[in-house]
């Protein structure tokens, strides 16, 4: 029977499992993402470097190609540093992607005061945040550790022998390092958009926190002749952690331990902000 002829009736069918409801929010958010051509174009650009890196690895292991350029052996040795540089490039792109996508996930709901409609259902605030974060985690994973892992597998197949098993720590470092960065970016984007409730302002604030925070941190370092100002620089913090994970020389002025503490504090502040702002109704005390 045509739907318009049916009329309203009570629902008596099966219900979806409670644990899976947060994926509904993720799915709807995901469907809305690629309506923007700019985002789609940027997302494609994010794969240029991984493709270039794979090509480089192929050339590095291809005697025929090398001989064309009158080169012998290989161009360079593939170590943790190669993957570290990959992470720096892709991590930077992930930041801009998160700045573009993250604020648009929560702020429309808050700006339209739609949260009561989400939360009056068997659906909690935690599930809401989890759903929105899942969208970001999947999107940012696609430009960080997923192509990184592909790169790792390509290198393993080209290098042959026991390279894969000898360098398993690189894969672990890529996944762990990416997830840390993705979680920090996601929390920051969600918290800032929950706070200002305006997509553009939240994106600007996110850029401000990362870039102005870095400048402010360096200013503190210079004025007070300390290195602790860099703890305000989120980029520096994550670089310090990646340096330790990829076993490369630490190029920033803070230790990995200090960076962990700084990122944990930033994440805790973001979670606090989310718990304060993501409510069905704000209480005016």
């Amino acid at each position: 029977m045509a739907i318009y002829k049916r009329g309203y009736r009570a629902y008596s069918g099966p219900l979806t499992p409670t644990w899976s409801r947060f994926l509904v929010v993720s799915r709807y958010a995901w469907n809305g993402l690629f309506r923007s051509r700019l985002l789609t174009a940027f997302f494609v650009i994010c794969f240029f470097y991984p493709v270039g890196a794979i090509t480089t690895l192929y050339i590095n292991h291809s005697p025929s190609v090398l001989s064309t350029f009158h080169l012998e052996g290989s161009l360079f040795e593939v170590t943790g540093k190669f993957f570290f540089i990959f992470m720096i490039v892709q991590g930077g792109l992930a930041f801009f992607l998160a700045t573009f996508v993250g604020p648009g996930l929560v702020s429309p709901d808050l700006a339209n005061r739609a949260l009561p409609l989400y939360l009056c259902r068997p659906f909690s605030r935690t599930e809401y945040v989890l759903g929105k974060m899942t969208t970001q985690v999947v999107l940012l994973s696609l430009v960080t550790w997923v192509p990184g892992l592909v790169l790792y597998l390509v290198q393993s197949s080209l290098a042959g022998g026991g390279w894969m098993w000898e360098n398993l720590w690189i894969a672990r470092a890529m996944i762990l390092g990416s997830l840390i960065w993705i979680l920090v970016l996601s929390l920051l984007a969600l918290a800032l958009s929950a706070w200002v409730k305006w997509k553009i302002a939240a994106a600007a604030l996110m850029l401000g926190i990362v870039f102005i925070g870095a400048g402010f941190g360096h200013a503190i370092d210079a004025i007070l002749r300390t290195t602790k100002g860099s703890l305000l620089d989120i980029g520096n913090c994550v670089t310090a952690i990646w340096c330790s994970l990829f076993r490369v020389e630490n190029t920033v002025s803070i230790s990995a331990g200090e960076a962990w503490v700084s990122l944990l504090i930033i994440s805790a502040v973001c979670l606090w902000l989310l718990s304060k702002k993501l409510r069905a109704y704000e209480v005016v005390r």
Binding site: Y11, G13, T18, N112, L115, Y118, A280, V283, R285
Partner: protein
């Protein structure tokens, strides 16, 4: 039968402000109206029942579920239409209602099907693919109603559903509410400051003022009750006539300009009023029987609940005072 709403010394506090103060009642009617002036605590009560606000002390149960411990069960059984605009402007009507259905636990295909059904039911069938941001105020109210019923709730909580509606749209909304109660066996809690809305669609009324329950009325019972309300327009000394009526044993309220409203008890006949009027040289210009309207009940509740006279709580058990 499980009461729809049970309040047990429920108090809600925002900072240092007491918003709801020791509310105690048990309501079992199919359609319950929450009445009160702006700021009385109606919306706060609803939001507390939905688990949005934490009670400062006391407790509440909705359909037998505890608001502190069983929020998920409450929210599964309840459909909620908020007072404020709460629709995501850049989503189409059907996509939004489908999303809400899925969040309530409906599988994706069923949610889509029911989104269409709900939108046709409320009268938005032709506009279901339009962006919600392009809807008129009346259409947005109907869309909010559609999202509240998409998952087939047992209890429908409506917060000011006729806000901003023109008379035909208001009539349509009230008709839908009554239909859901009568045809689809939903229980309704309707919160409004518009007396007509409540009077036309509710059986029980709870009147709040300053965060307290000031009156409970079972409209169905009151409509059936053989109370004899009489309106009189008289010419003469009003004070003397009012005293005489009171002496006779009538509940009497003066409306000014010689107007009186009386409730006759069983042992008083109309001829007694004529006699008293004659005794005191009062001319009766008009006399008619009249049932207490909700407006009368409401005004009496408001007037009789001055800060000194207001009871701490009004005990309402199983629908009776």
């Amino acid at each position: 039968m499980t009461p729809v709403i049970e309040l047990d010394k429920l108090a809600v506090r925002f900072g240092k402000r007491d918003i709801l103060k020791d509310l105690t009642c048990s309501l079992s009617g199919r359609s319950i109206g929450l009445l009160g002036p702006n700021g009385a605590g109606k919306s706060t009560l609803i939001n507390t029942l939905l688990g949005f606000y934490e009670p400062a002390h006391g407790n509440a149960r909705v359909l037998g579920f505890d608001v502190r411990r069983e929020q998920r069960q409450i929210r599964t059984a309840v459909g909620y239409m908020p007072e404020n605009d709460a629709l995501i402007a850049n989503m189409s009507g059907v996509a939004f209602i489908r999303l809400m259905g899925e969040l309530s636990g409906l599988p994706s295909e069923a949610a889509l099907e029911r989104a269409h059904e709900a939108l046709f039911y409320v009268g938005l069938g032709e506009a279901r693919y339009r962006k919600l941001g392009t809807y008129s105020l009346g259409m947005r109210q109907l869309a909010k109603l559609a999202q509240a019923i998409v998952h087939g709730p047992r209890l429908l909580i409506l917060d000011e559903p006729t806000n901003g509606l023109d008379p035909p749209a208001r009539q349509r909304m009230i008709r839908l509410v009554r239909e859901m109660k009568d045809t689809h066996q939903m229980q309704i809690v309707l919160c409004s400051h518009l007396l007509r809305d409540v009077e036309e669609s509710c059986e029980e009324v709870l009147i709040l003022k300053d965060g307290r329950i000031v009156h409970y009325a079972n409209l169905e019972q009151e409509r059936r009750a053989n109370k004899r309300f009489v309106e009189i327009e008289a010419l003469g000394d009003e004070a003397v006539f009012a005293d005489a009526l009171a002496t006779l044993g009538c509940e009497c309220a003066t409306g000014g300009g010689g107007r009186f409203r009386l409730v006759l008890s069983d042992n008083i006949e109309i001829r007694d009023i004529y006699r008293i009027a004659a005794d005191h040289d009062i001319q009766l210009r008009r006399l008619n029987y009249r049932r207490d309207s909700l407006e009368d009940i409401f005004l009496r509740a408001m007037n009789g609940s001055g800060s000194e006279a207001a009871p701490e709580t009004v005990e309402v058990s199983n629908g009776h005072l």
